[in-house]
Amino acid sequence: MPVNYIPRRFSVIRDKDLCINCGCCVRQCSNECHCFAGDGKTVLSRSDECVACHRCVDLCPTGALRIEKYVCDYRENANWTPQYQQQICRQAETGGVLLSGMGTPKPYPVYWDKILLNASQVTNPSIDPLREPMEIRTILGRKPEKLTVEKKGKSTVDMPPQVILETPIMFSAMSFGSISLNAQKSLAMAAKELGTLFNVGEGGLHPELEPFTDRAIVQVASGRFGVHSDYLNNSRFVEIKIGQGAKPGIGGHLPGEKVSVEVSDARMIPEGSDAISPAPHHDIYSIEDLRQLIWAIKQATGNKKPVSVKIAAVHNVAAIVSGCARAGADIVAIDGFRGGTGAAPERIRDNVGIPIELALAAADQRLRDEGIRSRISLVAAGSFRCSADIVKAIALGADACYCASAPLIAMGCHMCRTCNTGKCNWGIATQRPELTKRLNPDIMYKRVVNLINAWNHEIKEIMGGMGINSVDSLRGNRLMLRGIGLNEKELEILGIKHAGE
């Protein structure tokens, strides 16, 4: 290319006093940002393709490398930012839709950071989680309207199918294809050890995950990849994916580079072809159609498993959730606009959808108002960065939370957002065998387990601080929250008071 319209994003800075020319960085970078000089002895860096994934930085034995933002100044312009200018250049070159990975990085308000938590002081004293039992077990599924018991206290109600989780945290949908088998296996192994579930995503179920099907949530998405009766029955529950927070209104997207032989087998599509799921399910054009599909799945699974519907958080989300509940869903998952993805059109990811905080609060309130809150379990998704976010979500009404980006970060992801290229240096968002082998499930699943255990512990500490000892007492307990720096409308939608009130 004779003219480079876009300067590189990052520079690799090598400290020559520390570099031992071992060449580890040369061999580890799939973007070929490092090489040996002509003499074969000195290592040089060419940062043209650097995406700041930090693989070289983290493996360098002497810490000789660092990544710096490459600043090539444009004339100051608050409107025509360098980013917008460069995106136009890329489209002028390719004529294509801009794709990107992971959740939107745009500076929209993060409501978690504007919500504060309560703690006990004098009245209703704190509970010490080291000395008192703390219940964070969560049970998902439709709850009966009324509980009747016989003389000895045994329930006489026919319970719909329930799912017991040892923690309110589940692993959100990441398909085989968008991530590697090793990454999925790590999540499966972690889910097993933690007593929670992992969502298989819309890529079908790889045969090596068969030992973990009792921990798997299988997805029926618009492309219906890999959906057959065994697939549905070998799961803990089934999720109908109507939408995804990162790209509401359109279907899943797996670029052809990531469709290897194994992916093509699992999805039942030709190798190397883009796997683009249709926007709607072509057999769901109304809420009644959804109801039919839910009942069809329940029949196919012998009524033994709850059926979940996953929707993206959009305008009117509350009404949609209510509709799903009435259509027979046992669980509804709402995916906020910060949700991650393996590949999505950048414009849709950055501009479509609403925050999960608002969507969750609105949906929970609507269901309560309509008196049908107990018909479904609400699962929230869309960027939980720490245990405090989870506590706040539960307080806003979530029964459980879906996490995906966080466990990936535990496995090495550095949020470089180039998942769609399939060259993930950490072996996560790629199918190239020379890269996927870098993710050793025996090492990585332990890191995920550590992360969730740490969060569970923190949740217990926070709850104890609030004076409650069960996650049931936290659920929907808006009184435990106060807003800060929020306007009247936001407070109203969230259903919380302002700090100081």
Binding site: G23, R438, D442
Partner: protein
């Protein structure tokens, strides 16, 4: 006896094992000094062969019936009766490299004296095994013969 075995399916060709082997067999024992400033430069006893698609680290197999011990013309190469480790007595070694010419694995390196893996005799875990980022090297006793 415990030996080091490499798992091809986990080796990512980073060659950090070589860096840390040099460090462990250096005077300074510091990764920067050993690999950059020390003279004479320490030699790695383990070598990674292959490329980014398939690779594995190879070190001395500490054979039960070592060819190198038989070939050694000075008696410098011996197999320790207690630990089973095959090692070079550097005072006796004259650097003829006959051992190198008979080792069927290609594990002996040239130096002033013969250079080869000694399973980091004074440590409880060999440096390469400890520092492999992907756990591709295991230090274990497989129980069988190895020649």
């Amino acid at each position: 006896m415990k030996r080091i075995y490499a798992k091809e399916e986990l080796c990512v060709n980073c060659r950090l094992c070589e860096v840390y082997c040099k460090t462990a067999h250096s005077l300074s024992k510091d990764v920067l000094t050993a690999n950059k400033y020390e003279e004479p430069a320490p030699v790695s006893r383990v070598t990674v062969y292959g490329d980014k698609y398939i690779s594995a680290a190879l070190n001395c197999r500490h054979c039960d019936d070592p060819k190198c011990v038989k070939a050694c013309i000075t008696g410098a190469m011996t197999k320790d009766k207690a630990t089973g480790i095959v090692y070079v007595n550097e005072d006796k070694c004259i650097g003829c490299m006959t051992c190198l010419a008979v080792c069927p694995y290609g594990c002996i390196k040239e130096g002033k004296t013969a250079v080869k893996c000694d399973l980091c005799r004074n440590e409880d875990e060999p440096a390469c095994v400890k520092n492999c980022p992907n756990h591709a090297l295991v230090y274990t006793d497989l129980g069988g013969e190895n020649e």
